[in-house]
Symmetry: C2
Subunit: 264 residues, 2 copies
């Protein structure tokens, strides 16, 4: 099928485009900066969906499915702009894309929609976000669920995704940088929080399956297995056979995350 | 205490200002058009909070409590602008008012936050709005509940308010107009939906009590008694001793309301 991917050059976007091509789909890759690879089934368009022409939106809407991966302000989950800028902008773009013909949307939600709920979390767990980021995504989902012209909404709540192309400010790239720079100590939180770390390839596969699905579905995208942050970090240190020591407890726990939670 | 009322010249606003004065409070009445009455404890300011100066916002924020009653687009609960315009505008205004000193806010929610839940609804019932209007108010409440600088949030979900000064397009004013014009037939829905009709004076009293309350509270503002729409209409016809007949079933039921629900 023909799939438009918004945010195609991002971390999850690049993996998703490759997985779509692998599964034999035709891809319209939408991003501000374009892609650095090509394929006979890939069309790449430099478009900022928040600031583009109606023609661009018509072009994006000519597809069997849309995977929407863009979301600004990701560096600060507590920024009010998630609610006052990104949410209205995203609704306005989606309204037009739906009006121009898209009836099948995959959107990436977040485990932060659940707020401070602990343990194995099923997709039916009532959402209770405590951050503007989690609240904005949850509000978008509640809006789209009742949209009269959207036929299939697939909402995937992503847990702690990691892998190639991840933001340099994330935990694993920071650790790898420190190991590569032969630093002796890596500063982190106490590290006994249990998280659900999921590889970006797994996320991409799940998103592609969701795009192919002809039904409405809310789901979690995680590994389903809890791991402490410390265990996750130690696995990488062992894998690289590095002598780096951990300065556990240097940073506080984030106040917007529960101590232990993972996807069910 | 000193109370700022935003939306002071509106239907609920006028009654709330009078009730505040009756209870001995000092009132800063904020509205676009001003008030048509005066009082020694009443200061009236013509301000559009969505388009005003920082000085105006400072003036509003110099108060012990804020009762916020403005909300545009009320004629269409399904308008997406509740989410894309009113919600972000309202958050931006509230952010500034909180920054300038307000820590005690009464905000009027809506029974539409509950969506299609039937029966006696307690304030603890999980919200499930199906309209952009209900969703925008519910999202604002969830945002304010986690606001680090807001001390007291009082959230009152108003049911079917009626009374003096109500919009001419509402049920009771329409009926009164028809009776006054000596029309023979009044067109309405089947009328067997059970609603919670509450007098605006009761709503005003409840809002003033909430302003005085020094705690965070989510509550319903209704009569607590179900009444069918037909019974409600017939009471007014009887009161006016009018010979008008009802054309029941002329209009469909609204699709965003449950068949029977009332405040608990």
């Amino acid at each position: 099928m023909k799939v438009s991917v918004i945010g195609a050059s991002g971390f999850i976007g690049q993996h998703t485009v490759r997985e779509l091509l692998l599964q034999g789909h035709h891809v319209k890759a939408i991003s501000r900066n374009g892609l650095n690879f090509s394929d006979k089934n890939l069309e790449s368009f430099k478009i900022d969906v928040y600031d583009c022409s109606e023609e661009d939106l018509h072009l994006i809407a000519q597809a069997d499915a849309l995977i929407f991966l863009t979301w600004p302000h990701l560096s600060n989950f507590k920024a009010v702009e998630h609610l006052t800028e990104t949410l209205p902008q995203t609704i306005n773009v989606l309204e037009k894309l739906i009006r121009y013909g898209i009836d099948n949307i995959v959107f990436t939600g977040t485990c932060l929609e659940y707020g401070l709920v602990e343990g194995a979390i099923s997709p039916n767990t009532p959402t209770a976000p405590t951050t503007p980021y989690g609240l904005a995504k949850d509000t978008l989902r509640r809006y789209l669920e009742h949209h009269p012209s959207l036929r299939y909404l697939k909402w995937g709540r992503i847990f702690y995704v990691y892998g190639k192309g991840q933001s340099k400010t994330s935990l694993l790239p920071q650790l790898r940088r420190a190991i590569h720079a032969k630093e002796t100590v890596f500063r982190m939180s106490k590290g006994d929080q249990q998280r659900d770390f999921v590889e970006v390839e797994t996320v991409a596969k799940r998103l592609v399956s969701l795009a192919e699905l002809k039904t409405t579905k809310i789901t979690n995208i995680g590994s389903g297995k809890p791991l402490t942050v410390k265990e996750f970090v130690e696995m990488e240190i062992k894998r690289q056979n590095s002598p780096i020591k951990l300065d556990l407890g240097f940073y506080d726990y984030p106040d917007y995350e529960p101590m232990r939670f993972w996807a069910k």
